[in-house]
Amino acid sequence: MSETPAAKPPEEPKGLGLCGQFLKDHGIATTRLPDSCGVETIEIDGAHLEAAMKLLRGSSEIKLDYLVAISGVDSADTFDSVYQLWSYTNNNELIIKVRVKKTDVVEGQLPLVPSLARFWSAANWHERETYDLVGIRYYGHPYLRRILNVWDWDGHPLRRDYKQLVDALNDKASGSMR
């Protein structure tokens, strides 16, 4: 392995990292989370996400110009929207998490996170996918509809409480061992 593996258990971070400091300089508050395998991880409030992303992407010193992935995670008590950012120019990496507490989500509705799709094209399909599988609604998305499952799918499969539909296509067949 060429890169140092994070063998030690993640300890509490000391202070703000590079990007966290940068965002603080521009007036956006962040919380530093334990590094995930040596990559700076920050938590940010949903309301500031778009501004922060614009800053990180546009500034010459940070220049995180690759939005690698957006993942939705159904954690124990939050819904996380995780953004993996890379910099092509100066090899930086950053993970941004936007957390929506499950208690804040209105019953029968989806957690809300602002969409990046309007100014970052890469986010478009990732957000649609996360909406489809984890059920995070990205408001401001130009075309937020299911991308992988059929249009009238019930539920969001990667939620922990997802109950699978059983019908003629996947019930227990007589010939099968399942």
Binding site: A173, G175, S176, M177, R178
Partner: protein
């Protein structure tokens, strides 16, 4: 000028097309690489149809109904029915079913099998006219002695250990010669259970790692064996 450039371009294009045509045409004189399949069987080591091997030397069945394969199978395509024999107090295999229609031939079961019983043969001609025919039972799965020898040789699986000398008095059911190897195997089976349950602790002594290293196994506590056997017989009722 324009005409000249056009002519040059046309000439170049024609030349390039002819070069391509020549390359294709020259393939006429190469030998066909086709393998004439039904006439000539391919000679490779693949992860093909699953089968249960017998001991190539003594032709006893190698399965000890430890259910390692059943548990590790990602598709859950293996179904083992076993019961505890009243005489010997050991597990006896009643039925072994593999649904080849469900199997994905990943070879994990062969990897975890402590006695190299379940193996991937090189057979791939499994297509059937009906879905039910793909569920292979014990009789269909078990290889003959010659086949087992062939595959042990071919896949370079180490031969199962000869039965220990003192096993004969220990085994109460000595009247049944096929089950003569059971005590030893039962032990390794219980080890496998323990190893599986406590794999996170990674206690090397109790680990059954690879199918090709059964000789590394050491003895396991007897009470564990009892509990595991109970569990096994419970399962067999399902």
């Amino acid at each position: 000028m324009l005409a000249l450039s056009l002519v040059t371009r046309a000439k170049d294009s024609l030349y390039q097309i002819c070069r391509g045509l020549k390359t294709v045409a020259m393939h006429t004189f190469r030998e066909p690489i086709t393998q004439v399949y039904p006439d000539k069987m391919p000679d490779t080591n693949i992860r093909g149809r699953l089968a249960l091997a017998v001991n190539p030397e003594t032709s006893e069945h190698l399965c000890i109904s430890c259910r390692q394969c059943e548990r590790v199978c990602p598709d859950k395509c293996i179904e083992i029915t076993a019961h505890k024999s009243p005489e010997t107090n050991k597990l006896e295999l009643i039925e072994f079913k593999i649904d080849h229609g469900l199997c994905m031939f990943c070879g994990l079961c062969a990897e975890v099998c402590p006695t190299s019983c379940i193996i991937n043969t090189n057979d791939f001609e499994m297509s059937e006219y009906s879905r039910e025919a793909l569920v292979y039972d014990l009789r269909k799965l078990t290889l003959s002695q010659e086949e087992s020898r062939y595959y042990f040789d071919r896949k370079e699986i180490p031969l199962p250990k000869p039965k220990p000398a003192k096993a004969a008095p220990a085994a109460a059911g000595a009247a049944k010669p096929a089950a003569a190897g059971k005590p030893e195997e039962a032990k390794s089976e219980s080890e496998a259970k323990v190893a599986d349950a406590k794999a996170a602790d990674a206690k090397d002594a109790k680990e059954v790692k690879q199918a090709d290293e059964p000789e590394k196994q050491t003895a396991a506590p007897e009470e564990k064996e009892e509990t595991e056997n109970k569990e096994g017989s419970d399962k067999s009722k399902d």
